[in-house]
Amino acid sequence: MTEYIIRRTLQAVPLLFIISIILFVLMSNMGDPLATLGGRQPPRGEDRLRLERQLGLDQPFYIQYIYWLVGNDWRMVDTTGDGVPNAYGTRRGILRGDWGTSLVTRRPVLEMIGERLPNTLLLMGTVQVVVILVSLGIGIYAALRQYSLVDNVVTTGAFIGFSMPIFWLALMLMYIFAVNFKRWGLPYFPTVGMYDPMVGKTVPQVLWHMVLPVTSLSLISIAVYSRYIRASMLDVINQDYMRTARSKGLAERAILWQHALKNASLPLVTLVGLDLPLLLAGAVVTERIFAWPGMGRLFLDHVERIDTPVLMGILMLVSLAVVVFQLLTDIVYTWLDPRIRYR
C-alpha cells in the first residue's frame, strides 16, 4: 500500500507538469492582456513596447513558462523597458512558492486567491454537507422502498436535476423567493452578494445571503447523488451477506448502517472525491449570478482581462486538488472495501 501511494505520488508530478503546459499554451494565446490595462485607452506604440518588456510579455512562450515555473532571479531582465536587460529578475517561480503577480491589480496571486478562498469554501462546503446528508436520506429511503411513490419521485427528480442548467434553476428560485415574495409582502431572500453593506458582515447576514445560492447548488447535486446512493444501496441489500446478517439476528438498524451503508458508500466516495477538489474552484456560474465574491468570480473577472498569472494560479490549485483527491479516494476505497487491493 505504502509503495502504491509513493508510486502514485511520483506519477502525479509529471501529470501536473503536463497540465501546466497545456494551460500555459492555451492562456498565452487567449488574446492581448495589454488591451485592457490602460483603461479605456489601450497603451500604444512606445508605451506598449515598454510595458511588454517590463512584464516580460515580449519573451517567447517557453521563456515565459520557465519564468513562471522557476522564476527569473537567475537571469538579467529588462525592468526599465528600454530593450536592454539591466537587472536580475525578482520572480521566484511557482516551484519556489512564488505564484506570480496579477497583471491587472499588480498584487501577489496567492494573496488574491487567499482573499476569495474562504468565501468559496464557506459556500461550497455548506453545499457539500447539505448534499451528502439530504441525498443519503433520500437515497436510502428510496432504495428501501423500491418502486414506491417516493422512489419514483426521486428517480424522475434525479433526471430533471441533472438535465437542468444551474443558472436557470437559480433564476427560477430568485424569481419565486426574492422577486415574488417581495411582491407578496413576504420575507424575501437577498439575491446579490454576501451581506448587506448597510448591516455589515455579520453571521446572520451571511447565512441569510447563503440560502438561495446553497439551495440552487444543492438541488442539482442532490438529484445526482441520491440516484447513485439508491442504485448502490439496491445493489447491496440483495447480497448474500445481508441475509447472513439478518439470520444472525442483528438489529435492522445495525444491518443498515454497518453492513449495507459501508459497502454502498463506494460510489458516494467516488462522487465526493470528484467533487471536493472542485469546492476550491467554487461555482463559476452560481457565483456570477448571486454576485458571491468567491474563486469562480475571481476566475471569470480575470479571464476577461486575460490575467494569466491569476488564472494559472487558480487552475493549478484546483488541478492539484483533483490529483490529490484522486489518490485519497483510492485509499479510502481500501478502507471501505478490503476486497480492493492495489499493487
Partner: protein, 327 residues
C-alpha cells in the same frame, strides 16, 4: 458488458447471419426472426421513460422545424426598439427581448443552433475520443503512455474552466460564414470545436478499455494470422464490437454538449448575437430577472426539456443495448 453483445455481432459477420438468427429465434421469443437491432428496439419500446423522452424530442423537433416554416430567420433577428421588452401577447406569444426581437421566433432559430451544436460537438468528441482510445488501446506501449497521460491531464482540469479558457483561446478566429443559405456566426464553429475538444476524455477511456480486452480475443488473433493490416483490424473487427457503449455515451454526450453550450453562452463566451442560441438568449437575462421573466423562462425551459429527453433516450438505449437485460 460490451463484450458479449460484441460477440454476437462478431459471429454474425463471420459465420453468416443464419446462425445468430436461429440461435436467438428459438427460445423465449418464439419463432420470429429477431436481429440484435430488432431486439434492442423491442427493449427500447418497453422502456417507458425512453419512449416518453423520444416523444418529447419529437415534439421539440416539430417545434423548431415547423416553426421555421412559419417565421423566417430575418424576422427572428428583426429589431424593433419601439416594442422592446413587451410582455407575452397574441402578436408575440413569448414576448420580445431587449431590442424588440420576437422571443418565440428566436427560440426556434436558437433551437437549431443549440441542437446543431449538441450533435456536431459530439461528432468532434467522438472522432477524437475513438481515435485516441483505439490507438492507445490497440497499440499499447509508449503510444498508450503518452496518450493516456494527456487524457488524464485534460481530465484533471475542471471542465467548465477548460471550456471557458478554450473558448477564449479560439474566439474570434473564425469569421461569419454562409451555409445552406443561412449565415452562421463563426462562434458557432468555435463552440462546437471547443465542446468537442473538452469532452472526448471519457470516450477515449471507454474505447481504450474495450480495445484492451477485445484485442486479446481469438478473432483478432485470427485476423492477424490472415495478414489483415492493423488499420483494417481496428476499423472492421474491433471497433464494431464496441459500438454499443459508444452509442450510449454519444447520446448522453449530446445532452452534455447542449448544456455546455448553454453555460458558455450564458457567460457571454459562446455563440455571439445576432445568431441566437438558447444559451446566449439567457445571457444577461438575469438583469431582467424581475422586469422581463419571459426572456429567460422560455429558452431555459426548452433547454431543460431537450436535455431531459435526450437523457431519457440515452438511459433507454443503455438498457436496450445491454445484453444482460435480454428478456
Amino acid at each position: 458488458m460490451s463484450t458479449s453483445i460484441a460477440d454476437s455481432k462478431h459471429h454474425t459477420a463471420d459465420q453468416g447471419p443464419e446462425q445468430t438468427v436461429s440461435r436467438l429465434g428459438e427460445g423465449p421469443l418464439g419463432g420470429r426472426v429477431v436481429t440484435p437491432a430488432g431486439l434492442a428496439w423491442r427493449r427500447f419500446r418497453r422502456h417507458r421513460m425512453a419512449v416518453f423522452g423520444a416523444l418529447i424530442m419529437l415534439g421539440l423537433l416539430l417545434y423548431v422545424v415547423g416553426g421555421a416554416l412559419i417565421w423566417s430567420e430575418s424576422y427572428a433577428n428583426l429589431t424593433a426598439t419601439g416594442k422592446r421588452l413587451s410582455p407575452p401577447s397574441l402578436e408575440h406569444p413569448f414576448g420580445t427581448d431587449q431590442v424588440g426581437r420576437d422571443v418565440l421566433a428566436r427560440t426556434i432559430y436558437g433551437g437549431h443552433i443549440s441542437l446543431l451544436i449538441g450533435v456536431a460537438a459530439v461528432m468532434v468528441s467522438l472522432t477524437f475520443g475513438v481515435l485516441v482510445g483505439a490507438l492507445s488501446g490497440y497499440y499499447g506501449g509508449w503510444i498508450d503512455s503518452i496518450l493516456m497521460r494527456f487524457t488524464e491531464a485534460m481530465f484533471s482540469i475542471p471542465s467548465l474552466f477548460l471550456l471557458i479558457v478554450m473558448s477564449k483561446f479560439f474566439s474570434g478566429r473564425i469569421p461569419t460564414f454562409d451555409f445552406f443559405g443561412r449565415s452562421f456566426s463563426g462562434s458557432v464553429v468555435v463552440i462546437i470545436v471547443v465542446i468537442g475538444l473538452t469532452s472526448w476524455m471519457y470516450l477515449a477511456r471507454l474505447v481504450r478499455a474495450n480495445f484492451l480486452s477485445l484485442k486479446e480475443r481469438d478473432f483478432v488473433l485470427a485476423a492477424h494470422c490472415l495478414g489483415v493490416p492493423n488499420r483494417r483490424i481496428i476499423l472492421r473487427h474491433v471497433l464494431p464490437n464496441t459500438m454499443a457503449p459508444i452509442i450510449v455515451a454519444a447520446t448522453l454526450g449530446v445532452a452534455g454538449a447542449i448544456l455546455s453550450e448553454a453555460y458558455v453562452s450564458f457567460l457571454g463566451l459562446g455563440v455571439q448575437p445576432p445568431t441566437a442560441s438558447w444559451g446566449n438568449m439567457l445571457e444577461n437575462a438575469y438583469t431582467y430577472l424581475e422586469s422581463a421573466p419571459w426572456l429567460w423562462f422560455f429558452p431555459g425551459l426548452l433547454t431543460v426539456l431537450t436535455v431531459l429527453s435526450i437523457n431519457f433516450i440515452g438511459d433507454g438505449l443503455r438498457d436496450a443495448l445491454d445484453p444482460r437485460s435480454l428478456q
